[in-house]
């Protein structure tokens, strides 16, 4: 008997966001950010609509422009998914950047070392090993958290620098490309590069890989028993433990998956765009992935439009500076504002879900 005369309670702390519905909740941070950006532009005496028009045009109009936007969004989709999987288990993993760097170097190493292998072998191999290295890197803070209750925010954040400086050492020392002064590895073999779709853009199959992986991740979280355990541990770990779920093991699995996808992101960038490992190549893909994951919250597929939004800002933003006297910092303002609103939404959610409101 599923009655309709229910005692369902409207939570008094329910946020204004609820009125927008699930789609609106995802869109709201973007719209609000654009409004804030417009206000900033107008107040400083700039043409807000004109600026947005330039960004939009450069980001979306024309096949090449669109391809570039999707190209820029590819690493963000992957780092977004990586971060989201850990978030879903309640682990605030801010160490995807580290997994990305190590995965990137691993992929480059495979590409410039096993040059004799055909593409169908070397490409999957590079991705698998990159994922493996990324996962192993994430295992360290995962185990520390699961078994010793060491806070993961500090460990994952700090280990990023270890990873970045370690790869820096590798390409400045043992793996410095012969005959170059810049800190980079030798180029990977041509067949180790991810095939591109067109001449005019570096847009490549990594994007498709990222999309498939996002759908796979969404399916894993919703439909697999591991995903169920991850969701329950993230929603209420004490409840999960009392129900018989091994919380420590689930946390570690989620972090291994997170690190693996972070490694993939590095491989996709190196083999799809750069063709070699370059010191400090990431402008913070791992950190932007945090914003993307925050925006997506519990809906993995939202990672895709969120990443494309940031890809568009990056792609279109460069041009703004050329055509008007608007500084590139505007793009940072927009990104920061989106982040702010995304986390505000989570704060509302957290307020709502606080226990003991009887």
């Amino acid at each position: 008997m599923i009655t309709t005369e229910t005692t369902v309670r409207q939570n008094p702390t329910a946020s204004a966001y609820n009125r927008f519905g699930p789609l609106g909740q995802s869109l709201a941070p973007f719209v609000l950010a654009l409004i804030v950006g417009a206000v900033v532009l107008t107040v400083t005496g700039k043409d807000a609509l004109g600026t947005y028009a330039i960004i939009f045009q450069q980001a979306f109009l024309g096949v090449t422009n669109l391809a570039d936007t999707l190209l820029f969004s590819t690493p963000l989709i992957l780092t977004g998914v990586a971060t989201l999987v850990a978030f879903r288990a309640g682990v605030f993993n801010v160490g995807v950047e580290g997994s990305l760097y190590l995965g990137a170097f691993m992929a480059a190493w495979v590409g410039f070392t096993w040059t004799g292998l055909p593409g169908v072998v070397v490409l999957p191999l590079a991705f698998v090993l990159a994922g493996l290295v990324g996962a192993l890197w994430a295992w360290v803070p995962a185990a520390l958290k699961a078994y010793l209750q060491v806070d993961e925010v500090v460990t994952t954040l700090m280990l990023n620098y270890v990873a970045i400086f370690f790869t820096s050492f590798l390409v400045n020392g043992p793996f410095l490309a012969p005959g170059t002064a810049n800190s980079m590895s030798p180029a990977v073999a041509p067949q180790a590069e991810v095939p591109r779709f067109m001449q005019s853009s570096q847009f490549n199959w990594s994007f498709v890989f990222a999309i498939v992986l996002t759908f796979g991740g969404g399916w894993m979280l919703r439909r697999s028993t591991l995903g169920y355990a991850i969701r329950m541990v993230g929603d209420n770990s004490r409840f999960a433990a009392a129900g018989g779920i091994n919380v420590a093991r689930t946390l570690i699995y989620a972090m291994l998956l997170s690190g693996m996808v972070g490694g993939f992101a590095g491989a996709a960038q190196i083999l799809g765009v750069n063709g070699r490992f370059i010191d400090n190549f990431s402008p913070g893909y791992g950190f932007q992935g945090i914003t993307v994951a925050l925006l997506a919250a519990e809906r993995p597929l939202v990672v895709i439009p969120a990443a494309i939004f940031f890809g568009a800002l990056t792609n279109g933003g460069g041009l703004v500076q050329l055509f008007s006297n608007i500084p590139i910092d505007l793009i940072n303002v927009l990104q920061g504002t989106v982040m702010l609103f995304a986390t505000t939404r989570l704060a509302f959610k957290w307020l709502k879900s606080r226990p003991g409101k009887e």
């Binding site: 008997m1 599923i2 005692t7 439909r223 028993t225 329950m232 409840f239 226990p355």
Partner: protein, 528 residues
């Protein structure tokens, strides 16, 4: 007429409804000036709700509050403070990183030209404290203090704001015996100086020793008002638990079989690392409900956690249906036939942000029919949710409703439904009726009795002696992490139990009582 003038505080016909629960049902309370008034009753009787209304934290649906004969509206704690009403909460509301002095004056600092006048603050606070014979390390941080001094700071906070009516919500639960005595000295002095004190408690000896009058609440109503001097503990207990104590649904004596759960010499630590279980030994047999009586905080939580495998044990053994479970995982214990209704259902019983279907699947999602080869069968999960919702008449629009949207009674029904669905051999039920409306409580009790009839074992932990006496076959008293005594329910005497609960040593024991052997007592007292 003079007696009317003395009548400082009156609550008349206070009624408060929460979804699914009537918390206060036309409650009257009159407290005279200079009086220490005890508000007693079992858990969930409505005492705290009434006091939250008086302090402005809840608004009554009906009824009025009169102060000195005049009707007042208390729409928040600020209004209560203006009217001279102060409350010392069960869980202290102090800022750990600030000093005692800062905590006392916080929000009402004496200031000169916008700057806090520490000297003036210090002087005023010390005056108040001095008049009560309190000395405190004013410049120490709250975080560095034990709970007794923290409570004194809470009391001073209220007095500093000129409170003349002070509400204490179960003030002694966190205190040692000496600290409780000190608190009572302070309360007597305050009352002597003309303050009005309302103290919520469920410890009879405290009621008898400190109060001048008593209002007893039972099931959201006032069961009686007594002068302490002329009343006996028996009278109070009878008003508290009602007439229907002890002989309800149980059908005949059980014929208990072999042990389904046995715990021996269990040692475990609490969250802060202090010993919580000090050699706990008990066993639950097939076909019986074993009740665990005791004041909360005497190891109940750790006992449940240790039996379920949620905290490590430092010594002793746990056996579940013949298997040595001492080191087994929670899932393994459940596979052997253990089920668990956790004491704090919002923290451990459910995930409020997850759907009902997800909540109900938690104990069995990893096996058929809910999943095959690591893939969830959503149809089976939905079917299971629908079946359980129907069987336990949970009010919900859909199996995909988030649990946080349900009322307390419905949430508890979900927990019970899930835990019984796995057909346990032994069920641990911790405070299963706490905060649950009467109808749901009856349903839960009938399910526990069904398990007993089917030859399963039940371990029921409750603070509510009425509940224990009505459905248990045997009752043990848990005090300071070990069993203080055991008695068949037929022979149980509420005062004997009460005395054991608060660490007393009754002069005479009822027939059939089993008392712990002296050797364990002597070896374990040193661990404190």
């Amino acid at each position: 007429m003079s007696i009317l003038l003395n009548r400082l505080l009156e609550l008349r016909g206070i009624t408060k409804r929460f979804p699914g629960v009537l918390a206060n049902d036309h409650v009257d309370l009159t407290v005279e000036k200079g009086e220490i008034h005890a508000l007693v009753g079992e858990n969930g009787a409505g005492k705290t709700t009434l006091m939250r209304i008086l302090y402005g934290l809840e608004q009554p649906d009906e009824g009025e509050i009169r102060l000195g004969g005049k009707r007042v509206t208390i729409d928040g704690p600020a209004a209560a403070i203006r009217l001279g009403i102060g409350m010392v909460h069960q869980h202290f509301q102090l800022v750990p990183s600030m000093t005692l002095l800062e905590n006392v004056v916080l929000g009402a600092e004496p200031s000169r030209m916008g700057v806090t006048d520490r000297a003036a603050a210090h002087k005023k606070v010390q005056e108040i404290a001095g008049s009560l014979g309190m000395t405190l390390p004013w410049e120490a941080r709250v975080a560095d203090l034990s709970l007794g001094p923290q409570q004194r700071v809470e009391t001073l906070k209220a007095l500093y704001r000129n409170a003349s009516i002070l509400i204490f919500d179960e003030p002694t639960t966190v205190l040692t015996a000496q600290e409780a005595d000190q608190l009572f000295d302070v309360l007597r002095r305050l009352a002597h100086d003309g303050a009005t004190i309302i103290i919520i408690t469920h410890k009879l000896h405290e009621v008898m020793s400190i109060s001048s009058r008593i209002t007893v609440m039972r099931r959201s109503k006032v069961a009686g008002v007594l002068e302490t001097a002329g009343s006996s503990p028996q009278e109070i207990a009878h008003l508290m638990v009602g007439e229907d104590v002890g002989h309800m649904e149980r059908t005949g004596r059980s014929q208990p079989g072999e042990d389904v759960l046995s715990v021996s010499n269990l040692l475990a630590l609490d969250k802060r690392g202090a010993p919580a279980l000090r050699g706990l030994t008990l066993s639950v047999r097939r076909g019986e409900i074993l009740g665990v009586a005791g004041v909360e905080g005497n190891g109940q939580y750790e006992m449940v956690q240790a039996i379920a495998g949620l905290i490590p044990v430092m010594g002793g053994t746990v056996k579940i249906v013949g298997h040595d479970a001492t080191r087994a995982s929670t899932r393994q214990r459940r596979e052997w036939g253990l089920s668990l209704i956790p004491g704090d259902r919002n923290a451990e019983g459910v995930s409020k942000v997850s759907t009902i279907a997800d909540n109900l699947a938690c104990t069995e999602y990893y096996k058929s029919p809910l999943s095959q080869a690591g893939v969830l069968n959503e149809g089976a999960m939905q079917q299971r949710a629908k079946t359980l919702i129907e069987r336990f008449s949970v009010s919900t629009p859909s199996p995909y409703t988030k649990v946080g949207a349900l009322s307390g009674g419905n949430v508890q029904k979900l927990v019970v439904a899930r835990e019984l669905a796995s057909e346990p051999q032994v069920l641990i039920a911790a405070y299963p009726s706490r905060g649950v409306d009467v109808r749901s409580t009856e349903l839960i009790h009938s399910k526990l009795l069904e398990l007993r009839t089917d030859g399963k074992g039940v371990l029921l932990i409750s603070e509510d002696l009425g509940e224990l006496l009505s459905i248990c076959d045997r009752i043990v008293v848990l005090c300071e992490g070990r069993i203080a005594g055991e008695v068949p329910t037929e022979q149980a005497d509420i005062y004997w139990l009460g005395e054991l609960m608060i660490g007393g040593k009754p002069a005479t024991n009822p027939p059939g009582a089993v008392m712990p052997t002296v050797t364990t007592t002597t070896t374990t007292t040193t661990t404190t």
